[in-house]
Symmetry: C2
Subunit: 483 residues, 2 copies
Amino acid sequence: MFNSIEESPLYQIANPRSIVFFGASNSISAMGTNLLMSLQAAGFEGAIYPVHLKEKKVLDLKAYRSVLDLPEVPDLAVIVLPTKIVNQTLEECGRKGIRKVAIVSGGFREVGGSGVALEEELKEIAGRYGIRVLGPNCLGVANLHHKLNTTFIPYEGDPGFIGLASQSGSFVTQLFDYLSKLGLGFSTAFSVGNEVDIDLIDSMEYLAACPNTKVIALYIEGIKRGRPFMETARLIVPHKPIVALYVGGSETGRRAGFSHTGALAGPDDLYSGMFRQSGVIRAQSVTELFDFCWVLGELPRPKGPRVVIQTHSGGPGAAAADSCGRAGLELPDLSDDTVEKLAPFVPHTGSVNNPVDLTFSKNPNDFFSSIPQILIKEKMADMLLIYFFTPSQVVKRALMQMGLSEEEIMNQAMKFTDHQCSSIARLLETDDKPIIGYTFRSLEEPSISELINRGIPVFPGPERAARAMAALVKYAKYVPPKA
Amino acid sequence: MFNSIEESPLYQIANPRSIVFFGASNSISAMGTNLLMSLQAAGFEGAIYPVHLKEKKVLDLKAYRSVLDLPEVPDLAVIVLPTKIVNQTLEECGRKGIRKVAIVSGGFREVGGSGVALEEELKEIAGRYGIRVLGPNCLGVANLHHKLNTTFIPYEGDPGFIGLASQSGSFVTQLFDYLSKLGLGFSTAFSVGNEVDIDLIDSMEYLAACPNTKVIALYIEGIKRGRPFMETARLIVPHKPIVALYVGGSETGRRAGFSHTGALAGPDDLYSGMFRQSGVIRAQSVTELFDFCWVLGELPRPKGPRVVIQTHSGGPGAAAADSCGRAGLELPDLSDDTVEKLAPFVPHTGSVNNPVDLTFSKNPNDFFSSIPQILIKEKMADMLLIYFFTPSQVVKRALMQMGLSEEEIMNQAMKFTDHQCSSIARLLETDDKPIIGYTFRSLEEPSISELINRGIPVFPGPERAARAMAALVKYAKYVPPKA
């Protein structure tokens, strides 16, 4: 660990003022060209120097025949060249005085044979010049707060609070759209590739110090430095949660990881133990990795595992109760005080157990204001889980029946949504308890996406919601909330 | 079981020629009005007779003061009235000669107290007249093939092949949109409510005989007739797969189910055993319930649990390998024949293990034609799992760079998509093996939804894909495919 983020070997890689770019041309079929286009599309504000043997200009940027011709020493070199000329290019970067290099090119240790020797040579050159290397066989870095994206895919959506360190480049690039649809984004994401120098642990340290990062996500095929990993994680966890997806624990996953980055995986139990002992929360899938990051970055820590469920439909309530039970959460009985306060809202077919099922028969606004206002105060519960099913078609149908025009209906519906979502979101400010939603509607539907925008994570189905709440409880065990 | 579907007590409930409707008015705040609006919106082609004490017309339909005034004996009565007048209405239906009634009203056994006595009385009346009752405390039925929808929510999307029998009305109504986004739909869906007469087993028998139903989904809070359930399931499973979600097995789920429909749940193990012994495939969540139905209804039965994974990215490949391992599937080594045939497509950074990772560097059309054409013939594998990541932004970026107009780009992209998706879909016809996809992109993206339309289930993330494949394997163990 270091005192300031500037000391990290990744600082200039994630926040370069200038970049020399090897491997881009004016041919769109070249990988390097696509990476440079992503960098330009991100709006990178520093100088970019493409190096090309023949072209005068590459993508409208002045091109240089050699790195040695550049008018300055750039902060970062990005190399996307055929394997056989990577090492000589690295050597030239060293001679120029460049000390941070991201090597995207593959064909090293992960392919075996001569690739292993090439990687050894690469290490030797880097060591000789004191160059810090990210990769090879990686996709570089995305730091949208710095308008930096060296990956294959243009970034969609806004930068967010998830810091990612990944042994797969795909998980840096191919989830932009997925996260953006959940209202999430990366603060900074590192693809570490073969980790010839900078590794997962360096990335964790950077992300721990990064002010835009609220939660750290790790995609792991195999950890090389076990002891330092645990020591670093233990230092970080009290300040920021870490969530890890480890895919090398099954026999099938282990073999796949090895042929991908040459990572040496270990038994599942070993990794589970390592995570548990250092306070790292383990996710079982890519989906869970980001579900857990979502709630950990967005919500306060709960005081315990007790959940009150609000629903207006019995089935979704029962399914959520079942999901909570399977995730190790508890459903306390409501206190007399809560039962009394709920009485005016309880229809004779409704129930005042937990799940609190008040059916559809009352004023729909109550589900967003009076009722959650009562439930959030329930002293027997640590979290509130709400089933969101806003049947927008039913609302529209009603307004149409009232003779409103298309435009009036749109406006009314927007006003409803706005009022309802702000009522719920206000509880996050007044009460220090996690509120989580689930639905079977699309998360992109206005009423749901508005909740998400206002800081309420809403999951497709109760089981993902329940497992995410269990992750919150787990983190709160490591780092208890203030009394 | 019966010889023809017409013998089922549910036949006239799911296929009525005429309906008498109690509880609809011209007030849009009434539940009954909304149900009648759904029925009208579905385009129901038979006669609808609203009964109302005061109104001459209800939603533009001629209204009758009493069921006794109707010009004919309707096939079905739908009752959405206050609890206290349900039984007298049922009595009047009996006197009119009506023999099929769906009672939506709640307030019976599920609320305890006097509700229990009211339900006993309801049973007595039904018995006296020989009326077959669906409900009470249900949402009726949706049979879109018959343009019938008596539920609260207008139907979205097309009718499909999933037959549902549910102890929750919400799962009949609140998943229309969810299923439609997956390209799925219900053939017929029954909400059985308190099961005072017609129950899950009757519904299963109907769905077994229903020609539009390829797979049967069950949402269960508690089964009353255990032995008949198993006997019926055993008769159905050789002809149609059955997938069940049981939520009463956890303590929290059990209590929630009881206050919902008064169902008496049993221990989780007991239900698991019951399902296993009768060939019913158990889902652990609502999501899984429909994931499993999807692949079981869409794909052929695999000969075994061996999967070959096609990817162009290492991380998604390794994550899928791990998910397959955890789901009990196997990843065989490729046979020499396959390795040889793949050779022209293998870049030096790619791997010819399983997952088959061929990276991005080749012609993108190969991923949809030549490569899966080779992999589907792999004699060591029973199923093909493909990672779909069509970076449409990258394609568009390339076409823009080539100077094409917006319209030309759109046309080109559509042609690509069409060509690629049809190449893959053709393999479903030429080879009798399941093909399943996974992606982190939105399922609504054109390239993905086109695959789905052509019969390739594509899941968000590898873990759902792997568990769905495991469900296929499980069904194939009960009902082996032809050799």
